[in-house]
């Protein structure tokens, strides 16, 4: 395989990780504020369908993306209303919305199924795209992929280096303390849940207006992406940079599967298609092993040196969710 083809392949990896990145970082922001938005899988499908429909009707891809973000924000608003105002289980309402949004996208999308429509095109950045290697990798992408690079940096800076970011972390870790310092916990949780949902909503049109252009109903191949994004949020320990790492790793492995398929005739294509899911379970297993009781018992029986090494490894991988994740906040 020549270098050019590999570079193009890797540039494709960066692009195809884009939507997962938007969804997983959106979810990370929502969960940092203490609200699990489990509806991700249906939300992305509905945003993909709605974004494509809007772009098809108006001829504008920008409106398509805005529609996707609006749908994502609206679904997240339902999660926020039911969990923050009505104090219902976040998992229950999220799961119902997953199924409801999926069926809504199939039902409402059936008239536009398979229609050709607009899509965003590559926008090479002048001069930068001529840098050898890096130009092909990073600077011949479409606008949304550039935004996905930017999002990682902005989200990281916001969460870790700004005052509102500090408050955001407090919402999910110790809401009572945040409240005592004057933060309106309920209102801010609404804000970040809807913001996270809108970011995740952009993932939909990134598929239907770019990576997998068009709307193909049940065979769109998007079912499952939302769950992967939720798992990557955990894998990335709710931190934008590690989340991005997870998203790129996922996209890279998917690409590797496609590349290797012809040279592995013994492996049926169905197996490679679902490979991300056992992988998802395995990564979750690794990041959670440190929390298991039997692991602690096992470690204590090891001799000093391997025990320290193992403990350090487990700590490095360990993912600790925001302490108040999924719990309603009572003011009294």
């Amino acid at each position: 395989m020549s270098l050019d083809i590999v570079l193009l392949g890797l540039a494709g990896v960066l692009a195809s990780a884009g939507p997962v990145l938007f969804a997983a970082i959106g979810e990370a922001i929502s969960e940092r504020a203490g609200v699990i938005n489990l509806s991700m899988n249906g939300l992305i499908l509905l945003a993909a369908m709605g974004g494509f429909a809007a772009a098809l009707a108006t001829g504008s891809v920008v409106l398509g993306f805005l529609a996707g973000a609006a749908i994502g924000g609206a679904v997240a608003a339902v999660v926020a209303f039911s969990s923050i105002t009505l104090r219902q289980s976040q998992v229950a309402v999220g799961f119902v919305l997953t199924l409801l949004c999926r069926d809504l996208s199939y039902f409402l999308g059936s008239p536009i199924m398979g229609l050709p429509g607009p899509r965003i095109s590559e926008a090479p950045l002048p001069l930068l795209d001529r840098i050898p290697i890096l130009g092909t990798l990073f600077f011949r992408q479409d606008a949304m992929t550039y935004l996905s690079f930017l999002l990682v940096a902005l989200a990281w800076i916001f969460i870790n280096r700004t005052r509102p970011g500090l408050v955001l972390r407090g919402l999910g870790e110790r809401p009572a303390a945040a409240y005592a310092r004057g933060a309106d916990v309920g209102r801010l949780r609404y804000l970040y849940t809807i913001l996270g949902g809108a970011l995740a909503g952009l993932a939909g049109p990134m598929y239907s207006l770019s990576i997998k252009a068009g709307w193909k109903g049940t065979i769109s191949g998007l079912d499952g992406i939302g769950w992967i994004a939720l798992a990557i949020t955990i894998f990335g320990g709710w931190s934008p940079i590690k989340v991005a790492l997870g998203a790129y790793l996922f996209a890279f492995l998917q690409w590797l599967g496609l590349v290797l398929q012809p040279s592995l005739p013994g492996v049926p294509s169905q197996v490679l298609q679902v490979a991300p899911f056992p992988l998802m379970i395995l990564t979750l297993l690794f990041v959670n092993l440190g929390n298991a009781e039997w692991v602690a018992t096992f470690l204590s029986r090891l001799p000093e040196r391997p025990r320290r090494a193992m403990a350090r490894l487990l700590r490095a991988m360990n993912a600790k969710p925001p302490a108040a994740l999924g719990t309603p906040f009572e003011k009294d």
Binding site: L104, P268, Q270, I281, N291
Partner: protein, 357 residues
């Protein structure tokens, strides 16, 4: 203190409001696509109740839904989200097919009674479902993998395995296809009421028995009481000497048994072969039913038959109105969503009367 009369009438009132809102939203969705809502609802009703043929199809769809809902009531009681139930149905179907493939030759040769073969295949299916469920339980207990993600991942794995079997080792002679494996000999079918019907009374008995057993188990036994204790407060239950994770594991196993049974019924009574979408989404539907009945076994059966009727009735939508049959899912989803929201609003208002904000 809230007046007793008010609190008694409040619950049904909010339920009715939720149903109305759900119907309203679904109607808006229908109007958005240019369809007339009442025409669509009429088609669904006609498609579910219009003839003995379709009505018996509703019963056919009711059976797996009853089985998975009964299992899920147990896992919900102990506080677990068994989203992996779809994969457990699929695994049950795979194990049952595997057993029937093995028994086909002895049954045709006359050395094995068909009834015995079917019974063993159903047991194999139950074992398969339980195995897949306990894998989710083990990942949760020993690996700290949340059962939602573990179960979901295993659903996709089960689907892939199913497809691989249909297109690989178990493919039809000649060309493999989405229509599934070669149908079994008629002698290996669970007996139905007539030649053309897919309705097997034995299967319905199994479904109704499972919901009755689960009801008694939860409401009337010490085992059920301990399950509830674990579900309400695992830490307190553990301190009281209840082996917490063992109880979770047992409820996973029973739920898997029932899901596997549902898969086996789909193979031996409904499709007579393994097909790609053998679980048909009954697992997720069961989760919705369980949420809608607020995890109580007493009203699960009628709600399940209503959901089954929606699914069967919606099959007519593409034919008569050119509407997608996913409308059934939209109706079910909005219904569950609004019931959840209404319940939240009701307890919020009740609390408001108590003095809190």
């Amino acid at each position: 203190m809230p007046e007793p009369l008010l609190s008694r009438t409040q619950k049904p009132l909010f339920r009715a409001l939720a149903v109305l809102l759900a119907l309203g939203l679904a109607s808006v969705v229908l109007l958005a696509t240019g369809a007339r809502p009442f025409a669509a609802y009429a088609v669904i009703a006609q498609g579910a109740l219009g003839s003995w043929g379709v009505a018996s199809d509703v019963l056919v769809a009711w059976v797996p839904l009853l089985l998975v809902t009964s299992g899920l009531l147990l896992t919900f009681t102990v506080g677990l989200w068994n989203i992996g139930i779809e994969g457990q149905i699929t695994f049950g179907a795979i194990f049952a097919t595997w057993a029937l493939r093995g028994f086909q030759a002895p049954v045709l040769g006359g050395s094995m009674a068909p009834g015995l073969a079917i019974a063993l295949a159903i047991l194999a299916g139950m074992a398969g479902g339980a195995l897949w469920a306990m894998l989710v339980g083990a990942l949760k207990t020993f690996g700290g993998v949340n059962e939602i993600f573990g179960g979901l991942g295993l659903n996709y794995v089960a689907t892939a395995l199913n497809l691989w079997l249909i297109f690989g080792p178990w493919k039809r002679p000649g060309v493999a296809s989405m229509s599934g494996t070669v149908p079994f000999d008629r002698r290996l079918w669970l007996p139905t009421v007539s030649e053309q019907s897919r309705f097997a009374p034995t299967a319905l008995v199994l479904g109704l028995a499972s919901i009755a057993i689960v009801f008694v188990l939860i409401q009337g036994t010490y085992f059920g009481l301990r399950l509830k204790a674990v579900g309400r407060n695992p830490k307190a239950a553990y301190l009281l000497g209840i082996p917490t994770w063992q109880y979770s594991m047992v409820s996973f196993a029973i739920c898997g048994l029932l899901a596997g049974l549902a898969g086996a019924v789909q193979v031996t009574a409904v499709y007579h072969r393994l097909i790609p979408s053998i679980s048909s989404g009954y697992g997720y539907m069961g989760l919705m039913v369980a949420m809608l009945v607020n995890f109580s076994a007493a009203v699960a059966a009628p709600v399940a038959i209503f959901f089954a009727a929606l699914n069967v009735g919606a099959i007519q939508l593409p034919i008569t109105l050119k509407l997608d049959s996913s409308l059934a899912g939209v109706l079910q989803g909005t219904l569950v969503l609004f019931v959840l929201l209404a319940e939240g609003a009701r307890s919020r208002i009740m609390k408001g009367r108590g003095g809190a904000r």
